[in-house]
Protein backbone atom coordinates (compact mmCIF):
# COMPACT_ATOMS: atom_id res chain seq x y z
CA UNK A 1 0.00 0.00 0.00
CA UNK A 2 1.55 3.31 -1.06
CA UNK A 3 1.45 6.17 1.41
CA UNK A 4 -0.18 9.36 0.31
CA UNK A 5 -0.34 12.78 1.90
CA UNK A 6 -3.56 14.53 2.80
CA UNK A 7 -3.87 18.11 4.00
CA UNK A 8 -6.02 18.18 7.12
CA UNK A 9 -7.41 21.60 7.99
CA UNK A 10 -8.29 21.34 11.65
CA UNK A 11 -10.27 23.83 13.69
CA UNK A 12 -8.29 25.26 16.58
CA UNK A 13 -9.64 27.23 19.48
CA UNK A 14 -7.59 27.77 22.59
CA UNK A 15 -9.67 29.92 24.89
CA UNK A 16 -6.63 31.28 26.73
CA UNK A 17 -5.11 32.76 23.57
CA UNK A 18 -7.51 32.67 20.59
CA UNK A 19 -10.23 35.26 20.10
CA UNK A 20 -12.11 32.96 17.70
CA UNK A 21 -11.67 29.54 16.12
CA UNK A 22 -9.33 29.26 13.16
CA UNK A 23 -8.10 26.53 10.83
CA UNK A 24 -4.64 25.01 11.11
CA UNK A 25 -3.28 22.90 8.25
CA UNK A 26 -1.35 19.70 8.76
CA UNK A 27 0.09 17.40 6.11
CA UNK A 28 -0.73 13.89 7.18
CA UNK A 29 0.57 10.70 5.52
CA UNK A 30 -2.24 8.20 5.22
CA UNK A 31 -3.16 4.83 3.85
CA UNK A 32 -6.51 3.69 2.47
CA UNK A 33 -7.66 2.17 5.72
CA UNK A 34 -7.11 5.27 7.86
CA UNK A 35 -10.02 7.10 9.44
CA UNK A 36 -10.25 10.84 10.09
CA UNK A 37 -9.77 9.99 13.77
CA UNK A 38 -6.52 8.18 12.99
CA UNK A 39 -5.43 11.27 11.06
CA UNK A 40 -6.11 13.42 14.12
CA UNK A 41 -4.23 10.98 16.31
CA UNK A 42 -1.29 11.17 13.91
CA UNK A 43 -1.32 14.95 14.31
CA UNK A 44 -1.45 14.68 18.08
CA UNK A 45 1.32 12.06 18.23
CA UNK A 46 3.68 13.49 15.62
CA UNK A 47 2.90 17.12 14.80
CA UNK A 48 1.11 19.01 17.58
CA UNK A 49 0.39 17.42 20.89
CA UNK A 50 -1.77 20.34 22.00
CA UNK A 51 -4.65 19.39 19.67
CA UNK A 52 -7.76 18.42 21.68
CA UNK A 53 -10.53 16.10 20.55
CA UNK A 54 -12.72 13.41 22.06
CA UNK A 55 -12.65 9.75 21.18
CA UNK A 56 -12.73 6.39 22.81
CA UNK A 57 -13.96 3.25 21.07
CA UNK A 58 -12.71 3.81 17.47
CA UNK A 59 -15.63 1.66 16.31
CA UNK A 60 -18.69 3.91 16.07
CA UNK A 61 -20.23 2.81 19.33
CA UNK A 62 -19.23 5.25 22.08
CA UNK A 63 -20.43 8.34 20.23
CA UNK A 64 -17.53 10.54 21.40
CA UNK A 65 -15.91 11.51 18.12
CA UNK A 66 -18.68 13.53 16.42
CA UNK A 67 -17.29 16.42 14.34
CA UNK A 68 -17.89 18.28 11.11
CA UNK A 69 -15.97 16.71 8.24
CA UNK A 70 -16.07 18.99 5.19
CA UNK A 71 -19.12 20.64 6.75
CA UNK A 72 -21.06 17.41 7.35
CA UNK A 73 -21.66 15.92 10.82
CA UNK A 74 -19.72 12.64 10.97
CA UNK A 75 -18.17 10.20 13.40
CA UNK A 76 -14.44 10.71 12.85
CA UNK A 77 -13.76 7.01 13.47
CA UNK A 78 -16.30 5.95 10.84
CA UNK A 79 -15.13 8.40 8.17
CA UNK A 80 -12.18 7.59 5.96
CA UNK A 81 -9.46 9.94 4.73
CA UNK A 82 -9.47 8.18 1.34
CA UNK A 83 -12.89 9.68 0.63
CA UNK A 84 -11.47 13.22 0.77
CA UNK A 85 -8.71 13.34 -1.84
CA UNK A 86 -6.34 16.28 -1.37
CA UNK A 87 -7.79 18.20 1.57
CA UNK A 88 -10.24 17.60 4.36
CA UNK A 89 -11.65 20.19 6.75
CA UNK A 90 -12.35 19.03 10.30
CA UNK A 91 -14.31 21.31 12.62
CA UNK A 92 -16.03 21.10 15.98
CA UNK A 93 -19.60 19.83 15.91
CA UNK A 94 -21.95 22.60 14.75
CA UNK A 95 -24.53 24.23 17.04
CA UNK A 96 -22.60 23.56 20.26
CA UNK A 97 -20.31 26.00 22.05
CA UNK A 98 -16.65 25.12 21.51
CA UNK A 99 -14.72 24.30 24.67
CA UNK A 100 -11.36 23.81 22.96
CA UNK A 101 -10.35 22.83 19.40
CA UNK A 102 -12.72 19.99 18.43
CA UNK A 103 -14.21 19.55 21.89
CA UNK A 104 -17.70 20.98 22.36
CA UNK A 105 -19.70 21.73 25.49
CA UNK A 106 -22.26 18.98 26.06
CA UNK A 107 -23.95 20.30 29.21
CA UNK A 108 -27.12 21.32 27.41
CA UNK A 109 -27.71 17.85 25.98
CA UNK A 110 -26.86 16.12 29.25
CA UNK A 111 -29.44 18.22 31.04
CA UNK A 112 -32.05 17.40 28.38
CA UNK A 113 -31.22 13.72 28.50
CA UNK A 114 -31.88 13.73 32.22
CA UNK A 115 -35.17 15.55 31.77
CA UNK A 116 -36.71 12.94 29.44
CA UNK A 117 -36.22 10.19 32.06
CA UNK A 118 -34.36 7.82 29.72
CA UNK A 119 -35.08 4.67 31.65
CA UNK A 120 -37.99 2.28 32.04
CA UNK A 121 -40.53 3.42 34.60
CA UNK A 122 -42.56 0.24 35.06
CA UNK A 123 -46.26 0.33 34.35
CA UNK A 124 -46.73 -1.87 37.34
CA UNK A 125 -43.96 -2.41 39.85
CA UNK A 126 -43.28 -6.13 40.02
CA UNK A 127 -41.73 -7.96 42.95
CA UNK A 128 -38.44 -9.73 42.21
CA UNK A 129 -40.11 -13.05 43.00
CA UNK A 130 -42.52 -12.52 40.11
CA UNK A 131 -39.66 -12.81 37.65
CA UNK A 132 -38.64 -10.63 34.74
CA UNK A 133 -40.78 -8.22 32.74
CA UNK A 134 -41.59 -10.16 29.60
CA UNK A 135 -41.72 -8.76 26.10
CA UNK A 136 -42.53 -10.30 22.75
CA UNK A 137 -40.33 -9.80 19.65
CA UNK A 138 -43.14 -7.68 18.13
CA UNK A 139 -43.14 -5.43 21.18
CA UNK A 140 -39.37 -5.14 20.95
CA UNK A 141 -39.67 -4.25 17.28
CA UNK A 142 -41.67 -1.12 18.14
CA UNK A 143 -38.74 0.64 19.79
CA UNK A 144 -35.63 -1.31 18.74
CA UNK A 145 -34.59 1.19 16.09
CA UNK A 146 -34.73 4.12 18.53
CA UNK A 147 -32.65 2.24 21.09
CA UNK A 148 -29.64 2.25 18.76
CA UNK A 149 -28.86 5.88 19.63
CA UNK A 150 -25.28 6.36 20.87
CA UNK A 151 -25.71 10.03 21.92
CA UNK A 152 -23.13 11.20 19.38
CA UNK A 153 -25.15 14.39 18.77
CA UNK A 154 -24.62 14.42 15.01
CA UNK A 155 -28.37 15.00 14.76
CA UNK A 156 -28.12 18.18 16.82
CA UNK A 157 -25.33 19.41 14.55
CA UNK A 158 -27.67 18.69 11.61
CA UNK A 159 -30.63 20.54 13.11
CA UNK A 160 -30.83 24.23 12.19
CA UNK A 161 -33.74 24.72 14.59
CA UNK A 162 -31.52 23.63 17.48
CA UNK A 163 -28.74 25.89 16.20
CA UNK A 164 -31.12 28.85 16.07
CA UNK A 165 -32.71 28.17 19.44
CA UNK A 166 -31.06 25.66 21.74
CA UNK A 167 -34.06 25.53 24.06
CA UNK A 168 -35.46 22.97 21.56
CA UNK A 169 -35.38 19.51 23.12
CA UNK A 170 -33.86 18.31 19.88
CA UNK A 171 -33.84 15.16 17.71
CA UNK A 172 -31.67 12.90 19.89
CA UNK A 173 -33.46 13.47 23.18
CA UNK A 174 -36.87 13.11 21.51
CA UNK A 175 -35.80 9.87 19.79
CA UNK A 176 -34.76 8.47 23.17
CA UNK A 177 -37.92 9.70 24.82
CA UNK A 178 -39.87 7.92 22.09
CA UNK A 179 -37.80 4.77 22.64
CA UNK A 180 -38.99 4.55 26.27
CA UNK A 181 -42.54 5.57 25.45
CA UNK A 182 -42.78 2.76 22.90
CA UNK A 183 -41.49 0.14 25.33
CA UNK A 184 -44.28 -2.16 26.51
CA UNK A 185 -42.69 -2.34 29.97
CA UNK A 186 -42.76 1.43 30.43
CA UNK A 187 -45.71 3.37 31.76
CA UNK A 188 -44.43 6.94 31.91
CA UNK A 189 -45.38 8.36 28.52
CA UNK A 190 -47.89 10.66 30.18
CA UNK A 191 -45.18 12.16 32.37
CA UNK A 192 -43.00 12.66 29.33
CA UNK A 193 -45.86 14.18 27.31
CA UNK A 194 -45.38 17.49 29.10
CA UNK A 195 -41.93 17.78 27.51
CA UNK A 196 -43.15 16.65 24.10
CA UNK A 197 -46.00 19.15 23.91
CA UNK A 198 -44.11 22.07 25.46
CA UNK A 199 -43.03 25.15 23.53
CA UNK A 200 -39.51 23.65 23.34
CA UNK A 201 -40.88 20.23 22.42
CA UNK A 202 -41.69 18.61 19.09
CA UNK A 203 -43.42 21.61 17.52
CA UNK A 204 -40.10 23.40 17.30
CA UNK A 205 -39.26 20.99 14.50
CA UNK A 206 -39.99 22.10 10.94
CA UNK A 207 -39.25 18.72 9.37
CA UNK A 208 -35.91 19.55 7.79
CA UNK A 209 -35.09 15.84 8.13
CA UNK A 210 -31.30 16.22 7.96
CA UNK A 211 -30.96 14.70 11.46
CA UNK A 212 -32.06 11.32 10.16
CA UNK A 213 -29.85 11.68 7.12
CA UNK A 214 -26.66 12.04 9.21
CA UNK A 215 -27.52 9.54 11.96
CA UNK A 216 -24.75 6.89 11.89
CA UNK A 217 -27.06 4.35 13.57
CA UNK A 218 -30.18 4.77 11.38
CA UNK A 219 -32.25 5.79 14.37
CA UNK A 220 -34.37 8.17 12.27
CA UNK A 221 -34.93 10.82 14.96
CA UNK A 222 -37.02 12.92 12.55
CA UNK A 223 -39.54 10.09 12.55
CA UNK A 224 -39.67 10.04 16.36
CA UNK A 225 -40.18 13.81 16.45
CA UNK A 226 -42.91 13.83 13.82
CA UNK A 227 -44.79 10.87 15.30
CA UNK A 228 -44.84 12.72 18.59
CA UNK A 229 -46.34 15.79 16.92
CA UNK A 230 -49.34 13.62 16.11
CA UNK A 231 -49.37 12.17 19.63
CA UNK A 232 -49.15 15.61 21.24
CA UNK A 233 -51.95 16.96 19.06
CA UNK A 234 -54.07 13.87 19.79
CA UNK A 235 -53.38 14.18 23.50
CA UNK A 236 -54.39 17.84 23.42
CA UNK A 237 -57.78 17.14 21.86
CA UNK A 238 -58.44 13.93 23.77
CA UNK A 239 -58.02 15.84 27.00
CA UNK A 240 -61.37 17.47 26.30
CA UNK A 241 -62.97 14.18 25.35
CA UNK A 242 -61.91 12.13 28.36
CA UNK A 243 -61.38 14.14 31.50
CA UNK A 244 -58.86 12.68 33.89
CA UNK A 245 -59.72 11.87 37.47
CA UNK A 246 -63.04 11.03 38.97
CA UNK A 247 -66.04 13.34 39.39
CA UNK A 248 -66.32 14.78 42.85
Amino acid sequence: MTEQIIRMEVMRYRPEQDEAPWLQSFDVPYSDDMSVLQGLNYIKDELDESLSFRWSCRMAICGSCGMMVDGVPKLACKTFLRDYPGTVRVEALHHFPIERDLVVVLDDFMEKLERIQPYIIPRQEQALSEGEYLQTPTQLERYAQFSSCINCLLCYAACPQYGLDSSFLGPGAIALLHRYNMDSRDGASEQRMELVAAEEGVFHCTAVGYCSEVCPKHVDPANAVNLNKTRAAGDYFLRFAKPKGRCQ
Binding site: P15, I98, L164, G209, Y210, D220, N223, N226
Partner: protein
Protein backbone atom coordinates in the same frame (compact mmCIF):
# COMPACT_ATOMS: atom_id res chain seq x y z
CA UNK B 1 -9.26 32.10 37.48
CA UNK B 2 -11.54 30.17 35.21
CA UNK B 3 -9.93 29.79 31.77
CA UNK B 4 -13.13 28.47 30.20
CA UNK B 5 -14.51 30.67 27.47
CA UNK B 6 -16.84 28.53 25.33
CA UNK B 7 -17.14 29.97 21.84
CA UNK B 8 -20.60 30.15 20.27
CA UNK B 9 -20.57 30.26 16.49
CA UNK B 10 -23.01 32.51 14.63
CA UNK B 11 -25.87 30.95 12.64
CA UNK B 12 -25.90 33.59 9.92
CA UNK B 13 -26.45 32.19 6.44
CA UNK B 14 -26.76 28.65 7.83
CA UNK B 15 -29.00 27.51 5.01
CA UNK B 16 -26.48 28.43 2.34
CA UNK B 17 -23.80 26.21 3.83
CA UNK B 18 -25.26 22.82 3.02
CA UNK B 19 -27.01 21.62 -0.16
CA UNK B 20 -29.51 19.78 2.03
CA UNK B 21 -30.56 23.03 3.69
CA UNK B 22 -30.81 24.81 0.35
CA UNK B 23 -33.19 22.11 -0.85
CA UNK B 24 -35.16 22.50 2.38
CA UNK B 25 -35.46 26.26 1.88
CA UNK B 26 -36.53 25.81 -1.74
CA UNK B 27 -39.10 23.27 -0.59
CA UNK B 28 -40.45 25.69 2.03
CA UNK B 29 -40.30 28.55 -0.48
CA UNK B 30 -42.31 26.68 -3.11
CA UNK B 31 -45.14 26.41 -0.57
CA UNK B 32 -45.77 30.09 -1.36
CA UNK B 33 -46.52 29.08 -4.96
CA UNK B 34 -49.08 26.59 -3.72
CA UNK B 35 -50.70 29.42 -1.75
CA UNK B 36 -50.51 31.70 -4.81
CA UNK B 37 -52.34 29.18 -6.96
CA UNK B 38 -55.01 28.69 -4.30
CA UNK B 39 -55.50 32.45 -4.47
CA UNK B 40 -55.88 32.33 -8.27
CA UNK B 41 -58.62 29.71 -7.88
CA UNK B 42 -60.26 31.71 -5.10
CA UNK B 43 -60.42 34.78 -7.33
CA UNK B 44 -62.11 32.55 -9.94
CA UNK B 45 -64.82 31.63 -7.42
CA UNK B 46 -65.35 35.28 -6.54
CA UNK B 47 -65.60 36.21 -10.23
CA UNK B 48 -68.09 33.40 -10.78
CA UNK B 49 -70.25 34.78 -7.99
CA UNK B 50 -70.16 38.19 -9.65
CA UNK B 51 -71.98 36.91 -12.72
CA UNK B 52 -71.38 35.68 -16.22
CA UNK B 53 -69.54 38.72 -17.57
CA UNK B 54 -67.05 38.75 -14.72
CA UNK B 55 -66.49 35.01 -15.09
CA UNK B 56 -65.89 35.29 -18.85
CA UNK B 57 -63.46 38.17 -18.31
CA UNK B 58 -61.56 36.07 -15.78
CA UNK B 59 -61.35 33.17 -18.22
CA UNK B 60 -59.99 35.47 -20.94
CA UNK B 61 -57.47 36.93 -18.49
CA UNK B 62 -56.26 33.42 -17.74
CA UNK B 63 -55.48 32.91 -21.42
CA UNK B 64 -53.13 35.90 -21.71
CA UNK B 65 -49.48 34.95 -22.44
CA UNK B 66 -48.43 36.42 -19.09
CA UNK B 67 -50.94 34.23 -17.26
CA UNK B 68 -49.90 31.12 -19.21
CA UNK B 69 -46.27 31.87 -18.35
CA UNK B 70 -47.14 32.39 -14.68
CA UNK B 71 -49.02 29.09 -14.63
CA UNK B 72 -46.02 27.32 -16.10
CA UNK B 73 -43.87 28.67 -13.27
CA UNK B 74 -46.56 27.67 -10.74
CA UNK B 75 -46.69 24.17 -12.19
CA UNK B 76 -42.93 23.74 -11.91
CA UNK B 77 -42.79 25.09 -8.35
CA UNK B 78 -45.75 23.05 -7.15
CA UNK B 79 -44.36 19.96 -8.89
CA UNK B 80 -41.09 20.38 -7.02
CA UNK B 81 -42.96 21.00 -3.79
CA UNK B 82 -44.92 17.77 -4.07
CA UNK B 83 -41.79 15.85 -5.02
CA UNK B 84 -39.93 16.99 -1.89
CA UNK B 85 -43.09 16.58 0.21
CA UNK B 86 -43.30 12.91 -0.66
CA UNK B 87 -39.56 12.55 -0.21
CA UNK B 88 -39.89 13.55 3.47
CA UNK B 89 -43.11 11.54 3.93
CA UNK B 90 -41.51 8.32 5.26
CA UNK B 91 -40.04 10.40 8.09
CA UNK B 92 -43.43 11.65 9.18
CA UNK B 93 -45.48 8.43 8.96
CA UNK B 94 -45.73 5.80 11.67
CA UNK B 95 -43.91 2.60 10.67
CA UNK B 96 -45.93 0.71 8.08
CA UNK B 97 -45.80 -3.04 7.83
CA UNK B 98 -46.90 -5.25 4.98
CA UNK B 99 -47.07 -8.97 5.64
CA UNK B 100 -44.99 -8.55 8.80
CA UNK B 101 -42.23 -6.65 6.97
CA UNK B 102 -41.45 -2.96 7.41
CA UNK B 103 -42.25 -1.00 4.23
CA UNK B 104 -39.04 0.81 3.16
CA UNK B 105 -39.06 4.62 2.90
CA UNK B 106 -38.34 4.55 -0.81
CA UNK B 107 -41.50 2.53 -1.46
CA UNK B 108 -43.63 5.05 0.47
CA UNK B 109 -42.18 7.95 -1.53
CA UNK B 110 -42.63 6.09 -4.82
CA UNK B 111 -46.26 5.20 -4.01
CA UNK B 112 -46.98 8.83 -3.18
CA UNK B 113 -45.42 10.09 -6.39
CA UNK B 114 -47.29 7.51 -8.49
CA UNK B 115 -50.55 8.53 -6.78
CA UNK B 116 -49.85 12.18 -7.67
CA UNK B 117 -49.09 11.28 -11.27
CA UNK B 118 -52.28 9.20 -11.60
CA UNK B 119 -54.47 11.83 -9.93
CA UNK B 120 -53.00 14.54 -12.16
CA UNK B 121 -53.60 12.48 -15.29
CA UNK B 122 -57.18 11.73 -14.26
CA UNK B 123 -57.82 15.41 -13.60
CA UNK B 124 -56.25 16.35 -16.92
CA UNK B 125 -58.42 13.82 -18.77
CA UNK B 126 -61.54 15.11 -17.01
CA UNK B 127 -60.72 18.75 -17.83
CA UNK B 128 -60.03 17.72 -21.42
CA UNK B 129 -63.40 15.95 -21.68
CA UNK B 130 -65.26 18.96 -20.32
CA UNK B 131 -63.51 21.54 -22.46
CA UNK B 132 -63.79 19.70 -25.82
Amino acid sequence: MNKRRPYVRPMEGWWRKNPYFIEYMVHEGTALFVAAYALVLLIGVVRLAQGEAAWKAWLTALQSPLSVFAHLILLLAIGYHSYTWFKIMPRTLPPLSLGGKRVPGGAITATGLIAVALASLALLALAWRIST
